[in-house]
Structure formats: structure tokens, C-alpha cells
């Protein structure tokens, strides 16, 4: 990447290279400060996870633990409540991702490679679902699953997460499918591949980066979902992590160490996955708008 507006003053006012030494020093320092601003709260979280809860709520406050407690993560991982929440999160995130893949691939392929009546209307519908959040519709969602007797079930969480993440997956796959030259597809047809085999054998491997992005993004969104789970799941054993871990600190019990230990266990895999698809995220989220 090029330095866009670096070397600020014009070439006549300063000899080329004269600012380089300072810049080599200053920019990484500013970068470090910026990184600390964004990581700071999570560093506090880590330090609070590594001390007994009594030390977290002990005055005067100290930045570093008075007594280190390294057993927090083992404690959390052996807590049957936590394991139930973790199980829910894994099941819900995995199943909703699978459903999104099954629904988004054929839809994206069809709309990217073929023309048919209603194509625009469908793509518009997808765009609109990206505008709506489950939060705004949560009362309707609750009414629907209440009527279907699906309150307190994994199924309710799975299909809700799938539906609201479908738009992102469809847009990003649509973009990747559209970018494949038509010769590739024609060659596959000449070799006798039907539409389905062309998709699975030829097209899909070419869209792998898009597919990976869609899969990871959906998984993370479902993993982090809160409002729908808060509303639909009252049975403690079936809560996902995002809802469940809040019971570590309530009016009745206060286990700040475990709350933050559990939070870190929930965050770390997600951050790693997110870093892997960082490059494609903006494209998918702003699909159809940014040029």
C-alpha cells in the first residue's frame, strides 16, 4: 500500500527524506497508543479474570491484581452451567451457519449467473433484511415462536440467526459468483456438467474466499447474538454464552472473575476467526453501496 497523504508538506518546503527519521519513530508510537485504547478495556478484563472476585471489588482499586488467581479458566471450564451455555452457543452457531450456507449458495448463484422474472425483487428483499435487525422485530419473533411453541428451544435460535445472517452471505457470494468469467461456466457446460455439477465442481471452488468469509461471519454473528436469546430462552441450561454468563454477576451472586474468564473464553476464538476474514468484511457489509 502506498502512503496516501504522508510526507505532508510539498516537495519544495522540505528536502525529501528529512522527515523520515521522526516519522519512523512517531507513527509506531501513535499506533501503539491507538492499539492500547482499543485493547485497554479488554486488558482490564483479563487482569480482573486473573484475580479473586473479592479483589475486583476491593477498595482502593488497583490496576494489577493484589493476589493472582490463575485457576479462573479451569474453574469456568469445569462449571457445568458454563459448559451448558458453551454447548448451546456451539450448537446454535454451527447449525445456523450450516443453514445459511445451504440457503445462500443456490440463491447467490442463481441471481449472479441467471436472469429471471423477480430477480431484482428478490435481491431487494435480501437488501431489506440486512436493514432490519432482530431487535426491532423481537416482539414479533417472540409472538411467532410462542404460537409455534418453540420458546426455549435451540431451533428458534438457529433459524432466527440463520435468517438474519442470510443477507450478508448472499451478498458476498453473489459478488464472488458474478466475478467469475462466463467462459469458465461455458466450458463446464460443454464438458457435460449440469447446472448443479457446474456449481459444486467448478464455481464453488472458485468462490472459496467468499464462502469462508460468509461462514465465519455468520458463525460469529450467531455466537455473539444476544437479544433474541435473551427473549426466547428462559431455561438456564439452554441459554447461550452471551446470556448465560450474566448470571455470574447478579444481585445474588458476584463472581466477576468467572464472568470475565468466561467472557475471554468466548471472545478469543472469535477474534482469531475475525482476523482471518478482515479483508473481506467491509466488502460484504457494504455490498451494493460502496464503490
Amino acid at each position: 500500500m502506498t502512503t496516501l497523504t504522508a510526507d505532508a508538506p510539498g516537495p519544495r518546503t522540505r528536502r525529501p527524506g528529512s522527515g523520515r527519521g521522526a516519522r519512523r519513530f512517531v507513527l509506531p508510537l501513535v499506533g501503539l497508543a491507538l492499539a492500547l485504547v482499543f485493547l485497554g478495556p479488554y486488558i482490564v478484563m483479563l487482569l480482573d479474570a486473573l484475580r479473586p472476585s473479592a479483589d475486583v471489588v476491593h477498595t482502593p482499586t488497583t490496576f494489577f491484581p493484589r493476589t493472582w488467581q490463575l485457576s479462573t479458566f479451569a474453574d469456568v471450564l469445569s462449571d457445568p452451567r458454563f459448559l451448558n451455555w458453551l454447548k448451546t452457543s456451539v450448537i446454535v452457531a454451527t447449525a445456523s451457519t450450516a443453514i445459511v450456507v445451504v440457503a445462500a449458495i443456490p440463491a447467490a448463484y442463481m441471481t449472479a449467473r441467471y436472469v429471471f422474472p423477480g430477480r431484482t425483487a428478490f435481491l431487494f428483499l435480501v437488501l431489506v433484511t440486512q436493514m432490519f435487525s432482530p431487535t426491532a422485530l423481537v416482539v414479533g419473533i417472540y409472538r411467532e415462536f410462542f404460537a409455534l411453541n418453540l420458546v426455549n428451544t435451540y431451533a428458534a435460535l438457529i433459524i432466527t440467526n440463520a435468517a438474519f445472517n442470510l443477507a450478508f452471505a448472499t451478498w458476498i457470494l453473489h459478488g464472488f459468483f458474478s466475478s467469475i468469467p462466463s467462459e469458465v461456466e461455458e466450458a463446464a457446460h460443454l464438458d457435460g456438467c449440469g447446472r448443479w455439477r457446474t456449481l459444486t465442481r467448478v464455481m464453488l471452488p472458485l468462490t472459496l474466499p467468499g464462502l469462508v468469509t460468509a461462514v465465519i461471519f455468520t458463525f460469529i454473528a450467531a455466537w455473539n447474538e444476544y437479544v433474541v436469546a435473551l427473549t426466547l430462552i428462559q431455561d438456564d441450561a439452554r441459554k447461550p454464552l452471551t446470556v448465560g454468563i450474566n448470571s455470574y454477576v447478579t444481585g445474588y451472586e458476584q463472581h466477576w472473575d468467572q464472568l470475565f474468564g468466561a467472557s475471554i473464553i468466548a471472545i478469543v476464538p472469535v477474534v482469531i476467526l475475525f482476523a482471518l476474514i478482515e479483508k473481506h468484511l467491509v466488502g460484504g457489509l457494504t455490498a451494493g453501496s460502496i464503490k
Binding site: 507513527l27 501513535v30 482499543f38 482499586t61 443456490p106 428478490f122 433484511t129 414479533g140 466488502g283
Partner: protein, 345 residues
């Protein structure tokens, strides 16, 4: 960007009239024929494949069926259920007792806290979006420079983006705490305050504290959008400006900012939608305060159904319909944004 061609395929299609009827007469999704001319962004690499082959609609429907089932079943049907509930009368356990006519709507409009809630919503959305955009512009400008450790900074930026909002909100309830909070500790140590600030209970501080968290979690995505926008500006434009003797501020104001306008519009509109719909931050940080004094329309709606003394599903649904209508207005603005971009700049 890999998905950059998606929209003008929609636009170039000959049936965008269908789009018009769905939202309102004035919001066509850019039908300008210019949408087809993808030459300005490397169209030669990408032949327009979507227009070659026709397929009968029953075949297409078969391929779209799973996606349509999800959208109809879990997005459109709840929207219908929401509207239906807004005209219903419900028991505390959620059983429908009969029709309520427009009484839920009038009850929401007559709610004594409605004005406060609307004012909070406006303050919340405007403050978070404006601050996010301003800070993100600077962050993106900085990250577009080459320096040692830039990758690490970008990874650090990912953490607030990837972490669940509820976890970050829970974390900030402790950071803001009057007695044990890190923020008060830092402020006291630096002698910026004489005594601790009660960020989450002092009426003057609740909203600013929530706004700070809202900005904190919105910056990463927004900065990435601007970064993509900055990278799309061709380098020779800057060269030309510099040869013409433009200073750095002039270059930024006359060249960078105007060329960032598409990214700016997108970042604003998406942020407005996200921030308006934001639930965990307000719900969590405002938990210790009774009533609706610091609620936005989204948490107000939620509390009406699930938390308040009245537990009124019907009223909450009516508030939800208002929320959806508000978002629809934003969607219309969004589509106009898209149209604006399709026009030659």
C-alpha cells in the same frame, strides 16, 4: 473490492419497478444506464455475466426456495406478527385476549416518558454516529500510512468489533463503577477529578457514558469502511495536487474528503441503522436506573413487553411498529444514497 459489482447488476436489471412499489414511489434503485458502465473500475476483468442467460422462473424459484423460506418465515412473518400484536390485547402470560383496536398506539403516544425516550434516541443516535465518523476518519487516515506494527494496530481494532456487545457492555459496567471502576481509578490517579464520578447513576453522566461505549464499538467497522474508501482513491490524484502546489490540509479538504463521500454516506447510513437498533449497551449500562429516564425507543419497547410492571405485549408491539417505520425511513434514505452514487459524480 470483490463485491463492488453487485449493486449495478441489480440496478441494470429491467425490473427495478418491482423495487419501487415496495418502498414508495420516489425510491427507485438507480435505474440510470450508467450503472452498466463498469469501465471506471476495471470492468474488462469482469465480463457482465449475469445478463447472458435466462431461466424460467419456476427453476429459479426452486434455487431460491431455502432463502425465501427463511426470509418469509423469520423476517416477514414476525413483522406481520408484530403488527397483529400491536392491535391485540394480551394477558401477562402472553395469551391473546382479544382485539384492542388502536388503543395500544394511543397508549404509547400518551406514555408520560415518550418525549424523554424520543429525545434520548435522538441524542444517542446523533452523538454516537457523529463522533464515530469523526474519529474513524482520523483513525483510517492514520492506518492508511505505512509504519512498523501497522498490522498489530489493525488487529487491536478488530477486538471491540468481534467481541459480543453484551460482553463489552458488561465489562464497561465495572470500568465505570463508582467504587471499583478502573476509569475512576485512572482519573483520580491523574488528578483529573477530586472525587469519583458516578458514571452510571448520575443523570448527567449516564448518556455520555453510554455514548462513549457506543462510539468505542462502532469505530472499528467505520474505520475499515473509510480505509477501503481511501485505498480506492488513485494515487496519481495526489501526485497531481502536490505538483500543483497544494498543501496537506488543502489536499485533504479538496481531494480526499470529496472522494470519500460515497464511503462517508455508506458509513453514516449503516451506523445510523446499527446504532438506532443497538440494544445491549443501553440495556446493560442503564440497568441500575429505574424507569425510562435513559432509554431509547428500542430498550423502551423491550421493557414495555418483558420488564415493566404492566408487561404490555400490545403496547410494546405498537412501539415496535413505530421503530420499524423509523428504520424504513432510514432505508429510504439509504436507497437514495445508492441512487446518488449511481449518478456520475
Amino acid at each position: 473490492m470483490s463485491t463492488s459489482s453487485t449493486h449495478d447488476e441489480v440496478a441494470a436489471d429491467d425490473e427495478s419497478v418491482a423495487v419501487t412499489s415496495a418502498v414508495g414511489p420516489s425510491t427507485t434503485v438507480a435505474r440510470t444506464p450508467r450503472g452498466l458502465s463498469s469501465s471506471r473500475r476495471g470492468g474488462s476483468r469482469r465480463p457482465r455475466t449475469g445478463h447472458g442467460r435466462r431461466t424460467p422462473w419456476p427453476v429459479a424459484l426452486l434455487w431460491l426456495a431455502p432463502a425465501l423460506a427463511l426470509i418469509v418465515g423469520v423476517v416477514l412473518f414476525p413483522a406481520y406478527a408484530l403488527v397483529r400484536a400491536s392491535f391485540g390485547h394480551y394477558s401477562i402470560t402472553g395469551l391473546r385476549l382479544g382485539s384492542a383496536g388502536w388503543s395500544n398506539y394511543s397508549a404509547v403516544l400518551a406514555h408520560p416518558d415518550l418525549v424523554t425516550v424520543l429525545r434520548n434516541t435522538l441524542v444517542w443516535v446523533v452523538a454516537v454516529v457523529v463522533l464515530t465518523i469523526v474519529v474513524s476518519l482520523a483513525v483510517a487516515q492514520f492506518l492508511s500510512k505505512q509504519f512498523a506494527g501497522r498490522r498489530l494496530v489493525r488487529w487491536a481494532l478488530i477486538v471491540p468489533w468481534a467481541a459480543s456487545l453484551i460482553i463489552t457492555s458488561r465489562l464497561f459496567t465495572l470500568i465505570y463503577d463508582y467504587y471499583y471502576g478502573t476509569l475512576n481509578y485512572v482519573l483520580l490517579t491523574l488528578h483529573l477529578v477530586d472525587k469519583p464520578v458516578d458514571f452510571l447513576r448520575d443523570d448527567h453522566w449516564v448518556m455520555p457514558s453510554m455514548v462513549l461505549v457506543g462510539v468505542f464499538v462502532s469505530i472499528p467497522f467505520t474505520a475499515y469502511v473509510f480505509l477501503a474508501g481511501l485505498n480506492a482513491i488513485p494515487h496519481d490524484v495526489y501526485e497531481a495536487a502536490r505538483i500543483d502546489g497544494a498543501g496537506p490540509w488543502q489536499v485533504y479538504r479538496r481531494i480526499t474528503l470529496p472522494l470519500l463521500r460515497p464511503a462517508m454516506l455508506v458509513a453514516s447510513v449503516l451506523n445510523i441503522i446499527y446504532v438506532f437498533n443497538s440494544f445491549p449497551i443501553i440495556y446493560t449500562l442503564n440497568e441500575s436506573n429505574p424507569g425510562y429516564g435513559h432509554d431509547t425507543t428500542i430498550t423502551f419497547m423491550y421493557k414495555l413487553a418483558f420488564k415493566s410492571a404492566e408487561k404490555s405485549v400490545g403496547m410494546s408491539a405498537a412501539a415496535g411498529v413505530f421503530n420499524v417505520l423509523l428504520i424504513l425511513v432510514v432505508v429510504v434514505i439509504y436507497l437514495r444514497t445508492v441512487k446518488w452514487q449511481e449518478d456520475p459524480a
